[in-house]
């Protein structure tokens, strides 16, 4: 058999099977799937933003209410709000760069790759933009509380309170380390293999340095 004959056989294949679909059911199913997908994305974004805002509001409320260490609580609220603003801004920017499936394969894979690279960057640097701002806030807050206590409390009570604050700091550190570790694990387990897969795909399509996109 030659390739020309193979082409003929290939093109005759629709005569050997029949695809049966109820088009109304199909349309309903697609609309349902699209809604489900949009709902999942919206819920994921809302969950992160609402959680960050709740923490910021909590510290803001107590910062405004309390007399002692108010500035440290307000700083913590401000830093948490900063993380939320960064998250929202990043989501809005990335939404515009989302891969479009009507683009050519090279363009779509490049956008998907850029998208994954950005995810890798975000998770690898989670310490700097997500953990460190509230982490610094917590350390400053606990430090200022400790200072106040050392000035005002004496005896066994002082040791108990300092031990509690120390345990709080260690607990926070362990929690932050856990979040950091989970993010790095996700990068290694899911994102790096995905990135390599897309790079391989892209390399499979364009390895000539003077690739041009043909327009039809």
């Amino acid at each position: 058999m030659t390739f020309d004959e193979l082409q003929e056989t290939w093109q005759s294949q629709q005569s050997s099977f029949k695809i049966k679909i109820d088009s109304d059911l199909l349309l309903k199913e697609i609309q349902r799937n699209k809604k489900h997908f949009e709902y999942t994305v919206l819920w994921r974004d809302l969950r992160e933003i609402v959680a960050g805002l709740a923490v910021a509001i909590f510290f803001l409320y107590y910062g405004l209410k309390s007399d002692a260490c108010a500035w440290a609580l307000l700083l913590l609220a401000f830093l948490c709000a900063g993380v939320v603003v960064f998250l929202i801004a990043d989501r809005l920017v990335q939404k515009k760069k989302k891969p479009r499936f009507g683009d050519s394969l090279v363009d779509c894979i490049q956008s998907s790759l850029a998208n994954v690279e950005h995810q890798v960057w975000l998770l690898k640097n989670v310490l700097w933009w997500y953990l460190l701002p509230p982490g610094i806030g917590i350390v400053i807050f606990v430090g200022s509380v400790m200072l106040k206590i050392i000035q005002n409390v004496r005896g066994k009570g002082l040791v108990d309170i300092l031990l509690f604050l120390f345990a709080y700091l260690v607990g926070s550190f362990l929690l932050f380390w856990g979040v950091y570790y989970l993010n790095q694990w996700a990068v290694r387990k899911y994102l790096i293999p995905r990135k390599e897969e897309l790079e391989h795909l892209l390399h499979g399509l364009e390895n000539s340095p003077t690739v041009t996109t043909a327009e039809m």
């Binding site: 093109q11 050997s16 695809i19 997908f37 090279v106 327009e215």
Partner: protein, 174 residues
């Protein structure tokens, strides 16, 4: 989504379901995976309609959406999606091809072998082979893939050689 867009989707589906099925069959082997990829392509096709401005030919657009979806589709995620999806694809083999004497039966055997071989090629080469077997011009392939016509030629020759190796005994013109 307007009625006009809904009608366009229905028209596309009627006209190009066989094209989409070829893409599905190239990238997914089991019936469950085929059903998932089929629905995923249709979902992306539906979502792509507002962006279709008739600057490219309809077939170019459909191939782009179908191939892009297939290339980034992950079999491992198919099970997760399965929970939210109903089986809607029903592919029926026409009964008379089961008769051994029929030419269609032999063609089906050849096609099964071809699909198996294409699935063994790297994903990017499978798409070039698919477009070639569907008899698209180099210009059309270049527009779908986003590479130059000369690059299409180079890649297609390489892919055809690999396919001929995989189909040793069936293909004899290389």
């Amino acid at each position: 989504m307007t009625d006009k867009q809904e009608n366009l989707f229905r028209a596309w589906f009627d006209r190009y379901k066989n094209l989409i099925f070829k893409v599905v069959n190239t990238y997914a082997a089991s019936p469950e995976d085929q059903d998932d990829l089929f629905q995923e392509i249709l979902l992306q096709l539906w979502s792509s309609i507002p962006g279709f401005q008739r600057k490219s030919k309809e077939t170019t657009w459909i191939y782009r959406v179908a191939l892009n979806t297939a290339l980034v589709w992950k079999r491992t995620e198919s099970r997760k999606r399965k929970r939210f999806r109903r089986d809607i694809l029903d592919i029926q083999e026409i009964s008379h091809i089961k008769d051994n004497g029929d030419e269609l039966f032999r063609n089906k055997q050849i096609l099964d072998q071809v699909y198996d071989s294409i699935r063994q090629l790297p994903k990017s080469e499978s798409s070039i082979v698919l477009l070639y077997l569907d008899d698209l011009s180099y210009e059309e392939m270049a527009a779908i893939l986003g590479i130059s016509k000369s690059n299409v030629g180079v890649r297609l020759n390489r892919a055809k050689k690999k396919l001929a190796q995989l189909l040793k005994g069936l293909i004899d013109d290389l």
